[in-house]
C-alpha cells in the first residue's frame, strides 16, 4: 500500500512540470478563448465585461468592415494553391530524388534549407525581390526581354497580384518540407516491389504512379493536412510582406485577429476569430482524413 502511494506520488511529480506548462499555456487558454468569445471584451480588464452571446460571431460574419469572409476566402485560396501546385511539385521532386540518383543528399539538403530560415528573413528578402524600383524580379524579367510586366502599384501593392506574390514565397519555402516527408516515404517503399513491377514491364512513370504513390498515401494525407491547416493559420510571411493589405487583398484570419487585438482593442472579437480558426483546422483535418480513408488501399501501415 505504501509502495503504491509512493509510486503514484512519484508519477505525479514526474508529470508535474509538463502538465503545468501544457495545461497552463495551451489547454486552459483554449477554453478561455472560447469563453471570451462570448463577451464584448474591449480592454484587458476582465472584471466588468458585458456578456455578448453570439453577437461577436454574428458581427464577424456579417460586418463588411471586418471582411472576415474575404480573409477566409484568401486562406482557402492559399490552401487550394498549396495542395494543387506546391504538393505536386514536392511529390515530383521526391519521386525524382527517390530513384537513387548521384548527389541525392546534396539535393535533399539544398531543398530543405529554406524551411529552416526564419520567415521574417524570408519575408524581408522577398520584399526586396519584389521591390518595384530595384528588385531582382524586375531585373530578371527585363533580362528575359519582358518589360512592363509589373502591375500598377508594384507587385505587392496591386490588389490583383498581391495574393499570388504572397503565395510564391510560401511555395518556395515549404516545397522542401513536403518534399522531405514524401522522400522519406518513397525511400521506405521496398525495392523488391519496384523491381517486381519493372519485371512485369512497367515503365518508370508507371512504377511511380501505380506502386510508389499508393504506398505513400499516408504521407500524402499528412502533407495535405499540413498544407491546408498551414494556409488557414498562415501569419508570419503575410504579416511581413503586406500586413494583409492592400485593401484586404491578402487578409487572412490571423492577420485579422492581430488587427482586432492591437488596432481596435477588441479582445472578445480576437478570441472569436481564434476559436473559429481552431475549429476550421480540426474540421479540415478530419475531412481530409475521411477523404483519404474512403479510397483506402490494402496493406496500409497502421497510423495513429
Amino acid at each position: 500500500m505504501r509502495d503504491k502511494i509512493y509510486k503514484n506520488v512519484t508519477i505525479f511529480f514526474f508529470l508535474l512540470p509538463a502538465l503545468l506548462l501544457f495545461v497552463g499555456v495551451l489547454i486552459y487558454p483554449i477554453f478561455m478563448s472560447a469563453y471570451y468569445s462570448f463577451f464584448d471584451l474591449r480592454s484587458v480588464s476582465t472584471t466588468n465585461m458585458p456578456f455578448y452571446g453570439i453577437k461577436n460571431y454574428i458581427e464577424l460574419f456579417t460586418s463588411g468592415s471586418i471582411s472576415f469572409w474575404k480573409a477566409l476566402g484568401n486562406s482557402l485560396l492559399l490552401a487550394i494553391l498549396s495542395v494543387f501546385l506546391q504538393l505536386p511539385l514536392s511529390l515530383g521532386l521526391a519521386l525524382m530524388l527517390g530513384k537513387g540518383i548521384k548527389g541525392e543528399r546534396a539535393f535533399l539538403s539544398i531543398y530543405f534549407m529554406p524551411v529552416l530560415i526564419s520567415t521574417v528573413v524570408i519575408g524581408q528578402l522577398w520584399r526586396k525581390i519584389y521591390n518595384p524600383d530595384y528588385g531582382i524580379l524586375n531585373a530578371v524579367l527585363s533580362l528575359m526581354g519582358i518589360e512592363g510586366a509589373m502591375p500598377l502599384g508594384g507587385w505587392l501593392g496591386n490588389v490583383k497580384s498581391a495574393l499570388w506574390c504572397v503565395f510564391i514565397p510560401t511555395l518556395w519555402q515549404y516545397v522542401g518540407y513536403h518534399m522531405l516527408l514524401m522522400y522519406a516515404g518513397v525511400r521506405s517503399v521496398s525495392p523488391e516491389l519496384r523491381e517486381a513491377a519493372k519485371l512485369d514491364g512497367a515503365t518508370d512513370a508507371q512504377v511511380d504512379w501505380y506502386v510508389v504513390i499508393p504506398c505513400i498515401k499516408n504521407i500524402l494525407r499528412v502533407s495535405v493536412i499540413f498544407a491546408v491547416t498551414g494556409s488557414l493559420k498562415s501569419f508570419d510571411l503575410i504579416y511581413v510582406l503586406t500586413e494583409g493589405g492592400p485593401l484586404h487583398a491578402t487578409e487572412v484570419p490571423s492577420t485579422l485577429m492581430i488587427n482586432m487585438l492591437f488596432l481596435r482593442n477588441r479582445y472578445g472579437m480576437g478570441s472569436t476569430i481564434a476559436v473559429l480558426m481552431i475549429l476550421l483546422c480540426f474540421a479540415f483535418a478530419l475531412l481530409i482524413s475521411a477523404a483519404f480513408k474512403e479510397r483506402e488501399y490494402y496493406g496500409r501501415k497502421k497510423h495513429t
Partner: protein, 293 residues
C-alpha cells in the same frame, strides 16, 4: 537449355528496365538542378546585396558578386541597429525554452514509458494534442493574463509559451528514444537499490543524449524564428528577439539595402551553421514530427 534461355532473358530484361533510361535520367537531373537553383538564388542574392553599396544594388551590378566587398555593412548592422541585443535576447529566450521543455519532457516521458500505471497511454495522447493545436489558440488569454500581471515585456513572457509549445514534440521524440532503452536496465537498477528518481537521473538521462540533440535542434528552430508571440508580447526595444528586431530594423532603413541584408544574414547564420553540421538529425526530427504526429 530452354530453361537457361529464359533465365538469361530475365536477367537481360531486368538489366534493361531495371536501370532508368539515360534520357529520363538526364531530364531528372535537369529538373533537380533547376529547382536547386531556384532555391539557392534568392539566398545567394541576399548574401551578395549584404556586401554591396547602394550604387551596385540600384543598377550598376544587380545580380553579380559584389565588386567591393563592403564588410562595413555588417559593422553598420551590428552598431546602428541594436542587432547584438536582439541576437542576445533570442539566445536567452531560446536556450531557456530548450532547457525547460527538455527537463519537463524527459520527466514526463519517464513517467509515461518506464513506470507501469493505468492511464499512461491516455496521458501520452493528451500531450500529443499539442502537436495539432495552433499557437493562435491561446494568444488572447495569455496576453490578457500577462498584461494583468504586468508581465508583458519580459523574457518569461516568451520563454514559458515557447517551452509549452515545444513540449509535445519533445515528448514525442523522447518517447521514441526511451522505448529503445532496454527495460532490463531499470530492473537491474531496482535490484541494486535505486529508487525511481535515481534510476531516472543516473541511468535513463545519460542514455538519452542523442534524443537531447534532436529535441534541442527542433525547439531551437521553433523559438529562434517565432514571430507572432514575440511581436505581440514584446514592445520594448531592449527585449526584442531577432524576428521582431529585424522587422523594426527594416522599417527604419528602407533605402539602405546593405545593412539590412547584413542583418538578415546575421539572423540566418546560426541556423545555417547548425544545419551544415546536423542536417541529417534535423531532417529526421522533422520527418518524425510529421509522420508520428
Amino acid at each position: 537449355m530452354a530453361e537457361k534461355n529464359t533465365l538469361n532473358a530475365y536477367s537481360l530484361d531486368q538489366y534493361q528496365v531495371g536501370k532508368t533510361n539515360k534520357v529520363v535520367k538526364t531530364l531528372i537531373y535537369i529538373g533537380l538542378v533547376i529547382w536547386a537553383m531556384i532555391d539557392l538564388f534568392p539566398i545567394y542574392w541576399m548574401f551578395t546585396f549584404s556586401l554591396k553599396s547602394n550604387e551596385e544594388v540600384y543598377g550598376m551590378n544587380v545580380m553579380g558578386l559584389p565588386r567591393d566587398w563592403l564588410w562595413s555593412n555588417y559593422q553598420r548592422a551590428m552598431t546602428t541597429g541594436n542587432m547584438p541585443r536582439y541576437f542576445l535576447n533570442s539566445i536567452i529566450v531560446t536556450v531557456a525554452a530548450i532547457l525547460i521543455s527538455l527537463i519537463a519532457a524527459l520527466m514526463a516521458t519517464y513517467a509515461i514509458t518506464r513506470i507501469i500505471w493505468k492511464g499512461s497511454q491516455l496521458t501520452y495522447s493528451f500531450f500529443m494534442l499539442g502537436i495539432t493545436i495552433p499557437i493562435h489558440a491561446s494568444i488572447v488569454p495569455i496576453f490578457i493574463t500577462l498584461s494583468k500581471a504586468h508581465m508583458l515585456n519580459s523574457y518569461w513572457s516568451l520563454i514559458v509559451p515557447y517551452s509549452a509549445f515545444s513540449l509535445s514534440m519533445a515528448i514525442l521524440i523522447c518517447t521514441g528514444f526511451m522505448n529503445d532503452i532496454p527495460k532490463d536496465l531499470d530492473e537491474a537498477a531496482k535490484i541494486d537499490g535505486c529508487g525511481l528518481w535515481q534510476t531516472f537521473g543516473m541511468i535513463i538521462v545519460p542514455l538519452m543524449k542523442p534524443a537531447l540533440a534532436t529535441i534541442s535542434i527542433y525547439t531551437f528552430l521553433q523559438c529562434w524564428n517565432e514571430l507572432m508571440f514575440a511581436n505581440v508580447f514584446i514592445s520594448k526595444n531592449a527585449l526584442k528577439t531577432l524576428p521582431v528586431g529585424i522587422q523594426a530594423l527594416s522599417g527604419q532603413h528602407t533605402t539602405d539595402w546593405g545593412p539590412i541584408g547584413a542583418a538578415l544574414v546575421i539572423a540566418t547564420f546560426p541556423t545555417l551553421l547548425t544545419y551544415i553540421f546536423m542536417s541529417k538529425n534535423i531532417q529526421e526530427s522533422f520527418i518524425a514530427g510529421a509522420v508520428k504526429g
